[in-house]
Symmetry: C2
Subunit: 283 residues, 2 copies
Amino acid sequence: MALETVSTNKAFGGTQGVYRHASTATGTDMTFSVYVPPGAEAGARLPVIWYLSGLTCTHANVTEKGEFRRACAELGLIFVAPDTSPRGEAVPDDPAGAYDFGLGAGFYVDATEAPYAANYRMYSYVTEELPALIAAHFPADMGAQAITGHSMGGHGALTIALRNPDRYRSVSAFAPIVSPLRCPWGEKALGGYLGPDRATWRAHDATALIEDGARVPAILIDQGGADSFLEGQLKPGLLAQACEAAGIPLTLRMQDGYDHSYYFISTFLADHLRWHAERLGRR
Amino acid sequence: MALETVSTNKAFGGTQGVYRHASTATGTDMTFSVYVPPGAEAGARLPVIWYLSGLTCTHANVTEKGEFRRACAELGLIFVAPDTSPRGEAVPDDPAGAYDFGLGAGFYVDATEAPYAANYRMYSYVTEELPALIAAHFPADMGAQAITGHSMGGHGALTIALRNPDRYRSVSAFAPIVSPLRCPWGEKALGGYLGPDRATWRAHDATALIEDGARVPAILIDQGGADSFLEGQLKPGLLAQACEAAGIPLTLRMQDGYDHSYYFISTFLADHLRWHAERLGRR
């Protein structure tokens, strides 16, 4: 598993890197970023926090705008930010070039429908191939992983944590899509990647996974009250109902006046990192 | 002085705004950003920190990548980030389109040479027109101003503070150009904007200003040890010599392993804000 270093920059005493590799899962080159905090030099293995990004994003958005490095340096967390889809001229995109399907919109599933099934395997990429690469190339304690994400990436974080409760010790999200079965973004994406049988979608719907018996110890969600996608796409109340029925402790913080942007995420990301660090035994 | 709001986003309890106005100084529209921390709602007037950006930048670079809002919110500082030059199709650029002159490279001087003199009046813009606009439209205590900047903007911060010691209570810089008289960037820019008489350049050279008698109470500088421009362009040792001869307390921190990027700036910008806040009576 060869890894090409695109760039490294010292930041907050650690190293912010961007890396590229030939992905078996997606059949394309994939780029991701990793922040390694200070303290790993002496041979220590550090916990890993996964950050899954939203529609239209690459690794770069959170890497440049997320303001996570100060807290990661203080808490001793490795921060990994994957891309949101396969990329390249040979990769099929949305037929109309829309932002909410295809490139930049992999939805963290393994597609079964043509022509997407060959490349759009972001579930396998994020849960299998990239973790193996991180374990091989970085000072990571793969026994101490946590996951978070934003919007489509919040959907990714919640569904991946619910499907892999032994892997991720904690899960949080920013303005997540909590039920792709019940919003236009989700219906388009899961229909396109997984086909018309909505029963197959339930394995990639956080609310449905909980209804069907999946469990995690706790969930933290921040949601901007001025987020223009709140009512039409995100619908955190659906997750709150499912968590209440299932007995999953959900901390759902409605943040008055905040929108869907990185100005919102950067305000609260350090809070989430501290919450994860407690559950990873780092405080 | 009409002001157009381009965008506002809630962040760290305050408001990050981007604004546009028709500038008298430059004869063009100018865009800038202002962060107003929480606490201004009750009618309080808050101190102002000016951040001057480097070559190729607009207001957006530090606004997106600077990681200053958490500290500004804690300290109660308004953070203003101007553009680095006039912009527009009618504005003369570097004849060869180089990055280090013309658009994105105003060097915080009032040009006297054709064809630049009509628009390239960034000294007047940053010290007169924009402060008046800030005073009129934001809850700013214009009796409590501080200034900092990066690279070309560090040069701007140092020279503007040295020329206006009654205006700015404190000054700091990140990897500043300390003597445009003695580096290729400076020779090209000041020659192009001010003409061949190097005596006129001294009023826009921090080291020469100090040699010629200008004084500030103290200077804080962070400089990356792995900055590729350190030896050829920045030369902080020239400023250190002038400060030592003049009895100006200079804290020059060489930061091992850091480069010239916003990964460096964001690591130390909160430190600078705290340093300025102390001098502005905010701690």
